[in-house]
């Protein structure tokens, strides 16, 4: 066998192995991303054969004429900021507690993780029922405690609806970060903890100078994953309020969907998508670079 073909063949085999995954990924994930950018500069109603190029008109429209966009942006930012902090603080506390010498750890872990594996749309349905103004759990509870004055239409009141949905999100997402933190805690060197104790470090000292520094990579992962999860909040809002009442729980991801798929203004929907994609990329690209370097170093 000639030398040249022997060095060329393994590479070709590699591309054959790679091809199915790469083709599907390029066609149905990468292409739509390029398409949404192109679409954001066009006008298309979903029916006409050709989309018309309109330059920046869609962006101008969502920023100046769209009464919902700014509200949805504000909701997305608030939601994301809180979703990155609140549930993760609970997760972190739970993980630290479940890492101690206490009985029933695995059952407790199951309880906190169970909501994670339930379909978001089912979580939405469950909580919508608990918030039911007449027969739901919350108002029943308040009534029995004699707090009739606190009774609210949790999902029908513009002032509280978004936060009612957020509580359901917290219930659903705490377990996910908890498991990541628990795995991170497994990686904290026991000898290091022991050494710190022998040197006279108390509970706080061990936590501050051994556990916390060792958890830095985990925290990074949790931070980015919950950030992305909250930017794309869709199912739970769709299932609980559909963006209402009066668009008060509208978010960018769902507003993009609503404009394109329900109102038939694909160009404007695409412009909203691009705004959200840009926000995501700004956050995610440094992280991807960090992951890439770590993979490189691991090799």
């Amino acid at each position: 066998m000639p030398q040249a073909s022997q060095s060329a063949r393994p590479e070709r085999q590699g591309y054959v192995l790679l091809a199915p995954a790469l083709i599907v990924y390029l066609l149905f994930a990468v292409y739509p991303m390029i398409d949404v950018i192109r679409m954001s500069f066009s006008s298309w109603n979903g029916l006409s054969p050709e989309a018309r190029f309109v330059g920046l008109a869609n962006y101008r429209a969502i920023v100046t004429q769209d009464p919902v966009f700014w509200g949805a942006l504000r909701n997305t930012i608030w939601w994301t900021a809180l979703a990155v902090i609140l549930p993760n603080l609970i997760s972190f506390g739970l993980a630290l507690a479940l890492n101690q010498n206490i009985p029933g750890k695995s059952s407790l872990r199951v309880v906190f993780y169970l909501p994670v594996i339930i379909a978001s749309i089912a979580v939405a349905t469950i909580w919508k029922w608990m918030y039911d103004p007449f027969f739901g759990l919350f108002n029943n509870l308040l009534m029995q405690m004699g707090l009739d004055g606190w009774i609210l239409d949790w999902l029908g009141d513009r002032k509280v609806a978004l936060w009612s949905v957020f509580v359901a999100h917290v219930w659903q997402s705490v377990g996910f970060s908890m498991v990541l933190f628990l795995a991170g805690l497994q990686g904290v060197s026991a000898t290091l903890v022991e050494a710190a104790r022998i040197d006279g470090a108390g509970r706080w000292g061990v936590f501050r100078y051994v556990t916390l520094p060792a958890l830095k990579p985990t925290m990074m992962v949790v931070f980015v994953l919950s950030l992305i999860n909250s930017l794309k909040a869709f199912d739970i809002v769709y299932g609980m309020t559909g963006g209402g009442p009066a668009q008060s729980t509208q978010m960018l991801a769902m507003w993009a969907y609503t404009q394109s798929m329900q109102l038939g203004v694909f160009g404007r929907g695409a412009a909203v998508s691009v705004v959200l994609l840009l926000i995501t990329l700004v956050i995610v690209l440094p992280y991807i670079r960090w992951m890439f370097r770590r993979e490189e170093m691991a090799r």
Binding site: E11, V24, M39, A122
Partner: protein, 288 residues
């Protein structure tokens, strides 16, 4: 009390630590709050509508109304949605893992000129949120004429599942010592053979973790199905539940029975394969 005889003590100490006892009690209380929604759902699912409206929400059902389940199954078209869910999951999950494993092997073990760039391309995909671009995905599937078909939903599911799986498996394959594959190469085996005979078998633990994780994700997926499967005959369980919720929201017992039937398969799978979940989540994400 053997369970407690060792607990609540710090390492190397024989005394019960009061801080740990207090911590444990607060954990139990929080866990009770966490399971309250489930208890409430089960209670309501077993009550007739008259009982739901008449008695307190916290009263356990006295006469178990199991007929709610049969009625919800019929009205919610569960035989159709469950069947579609099974077909889509059973095709998508193994197929996706297989092609991801092939790609990950190629990237990790076959010397190619574009290795790095291609890996970076997949890594980028792990962070790409599809909820953001439902309309262009719809356009693309529509361009292939696949709206309301099984391939129409399976292909985008594959596309957005591949990057994460490639990433995890790439990490796993990279850690396999060179000697293992090079010995086989010297014996004249092709990469296809090495992948099938050596790498696929040794990655079974990772593959099963990813399998369970992906099963639950696919079974539960809502947003993509919403835009692509518009014909009720093609709906999956989450779509069926959503429609049930908006149509029969005041049939409380049946609605809650529908919730339980939607949620149960994934919950059972999780309870049976718990340890794989943690392995699947963390094998690539959190490592030293």
């Amino acid at each position: 009390m053997t369970l407690f005889s060792q607990a609540f003590r710090r390492v190397g100490s024989a005394k019960v630590d009061p801080v740990l006892v207090a911590l444990w009690i607060s954990l139990i209380l929080l866990a009770l709050i966490w399971i309250t929604p489930f208890v409430f759902i089960v209670f309501t699912a077993l009550k007739s509508n008259a009982t739901v409206m008449g008695a307190s929400a916290f009263m356990p059902p006295t006469e178990l109304a199991f007929e709610n389940f049969a009625a919800a199954w019929r009205r919610g078209n569960f035989s159709t949605t469950a069947f579609n869910g099974v077909v889509i999951t059973v095709i998508k999950v193994p197929l996706g893992l297989f092609i991801s494993a092939m790609a990950a092997y190629a990237l990790a073990k076959v010397p190619m000129r574009m290795n790095k760039a291609l890996f970076a391309l997949f890594l980028f995909g792990t962070m790409l949120p599809f909820q953001v671009m439902l309309a262009p995905i719809f356009r693309q599937v529509n361009a292939f004429g696949l709206i309301n078909t099984y391939p129409g939903i399976i292909l985008p599911y594959l596309a957005f599942g591949i990057p994460y799986q490639v990433f995890i498996l790439y990490g796993f394959f990279s850690a396999v010592p060179k000697e293992l594959s090079e010995a086989a190469r010297i014996d004249g085996a092709s990469h296809f053979t090495i992948f099938r005979r050596i790498f696929l078998p040794i990655s079974l633990p990772v593959l099963s973790a990813l399998l369970i994780l992906d099963f639950v994700a696919t079974w539960n997926e809502f947003a993509m199905a919403l835009v692509i499967l518009q014909d009720p005959k093609m709906w999956t369980l989450p779509l069926g539940l959503m429609s049930f919720q908006s149509q029969f929201s005041s049939d409380y017992g049946e609605l809650n029975a529908a919730i339980i039937m939607t949620v149960l398969p994934a919950a059972l799978v999780y309870l049976m394969f718990q340890r794989y979940f943690v392995a699947g989540l963390t094998s690539g994400a959190v490592k030293e």
